[in-house]
């Protein structure tokens, strides 16, 4: 982690160096480091992009559940499982790959369940999966700002969480029954 931050830091320094012509020579002398740093920066960006179809499908499941739409949630659940299966894990840090593999496996399992169950069961899997998707963004990054939201009344007052792109609460764990239950707990920024 430290090294990643260091290389990103280096990349940023070097990019700003490049902008000022007077320091161009300094940049040239560290050519090799530059190439390496730029690679890391590029793969981080790619990580953000790689997660796009996953977040798209996750949010589609969420919106379907907000609208109490079992059929739409099922369709999006299947899309999500496919999106997760096509994530190329080898592009990320080697020491994060096992954890990524595990997150993807569990989240994919949730997507598959959502694709074939009745709505209360879908909500249950969606709630459990939300933590996995959040953990995924912690490693891979996100391509948009996400709001981690929480409703304490879900699951017999044990509480439940989900991610949304909007600050406003629209509850996917209850749908129309309790649309406004919840609050923002954390903002996951780019």
């Amino acid at each position: 982690m430290k090294t990643t931050l260091l290389t990103i830091g280096l990349a940023l320094t070097i990019i700003s160096c490049n902008n000022s012509k007077t320091e161009k020579r300094a940049a040239e002398t560290t050519n090799e480091t530059t190439a390496k740093a730029e690679n890391t920066a590029a793969s981080d960006q790619e990580g953000g992009k790689a997660i796009t179809p996953i977040i798209d499908a996750y949010l589609a499941v969420k919106n379907a559940l907000v609208n109490d739409n079992q059929e739409e949630a099922a369709k999006s659940g299947a899309t999500l499982a496919t999106a997760l299966a096509s994530l190329d894990i080898s592009q990320f840090d080697v020491d994060k790959q096992t954890e990524l593999q595990e997150i993807v496996e569990v989240a994919k399992n949730h997507g598959e369940h959502i694709s074939k169950s009745e709505i209360e069961h879908q909500r249950e899997h969606f709630e459990a999966m939300s933590q996995d998707i959040k953990d995924l963004t912690a490693i891979v990054g996100t391509d948009r700002t996400l709001y981690h939201q929480y409703c304490p009344m879900y699951n017999d007052n044990k509480g439940g969480m989900w991610l949304s792109t909007s600050e406003e609460i629209k509850n996917p764990l209850f749908g129309a029954k309790m649309m406004k239950c919840g609050k923002v707990q954390e903002i996951i920024s780019l």
Binding site: Q101, E102, I103, E105, V106, N109, H110, E124, A128
Partner: protein, 146 residues
Amino acid sequence: MKKAAIIILILGIGIQFIPVPKNQTEKVSEADFLQTMEATIPIQNMIKASCYDCHSNNTNYPWYGRVRPFAWLLQQHIDEGKDELNFSTFQEYSGRMQREKIRSMISQISDGEMPLKEYLWMHPEAEMTKEEKEQLIEYLEKLNPQ
């Protein structure tokens, strides 16, 4: 009429020769849930009696269990059950997956979805009282495999 009865009888005997795999193994799996998780004897017995027939590599077959067509039905339940959760290979799941399986067990037991009603008709001994269910759920909630 007599002819029909004879045909059914012959078919009934005939299908007994169609092989059905038997879900049993001598080997004690090192990845088995009850071998690796600490649990009191009553909890162990509950899990064994109520879950292991369909969710492990060892089914304790009832007398009709090898009689076709029941054997086929049973086999289908066991295949589906093990696909979803196999206690015999529990340690082979990742920590994250183990936590998910445990979450799912708690939910299925408290919603009364598991054990299956059809299973309980034939296995009254697998039925848990309300107190037993609470004990089992309390036990499962404390597990937090990493």
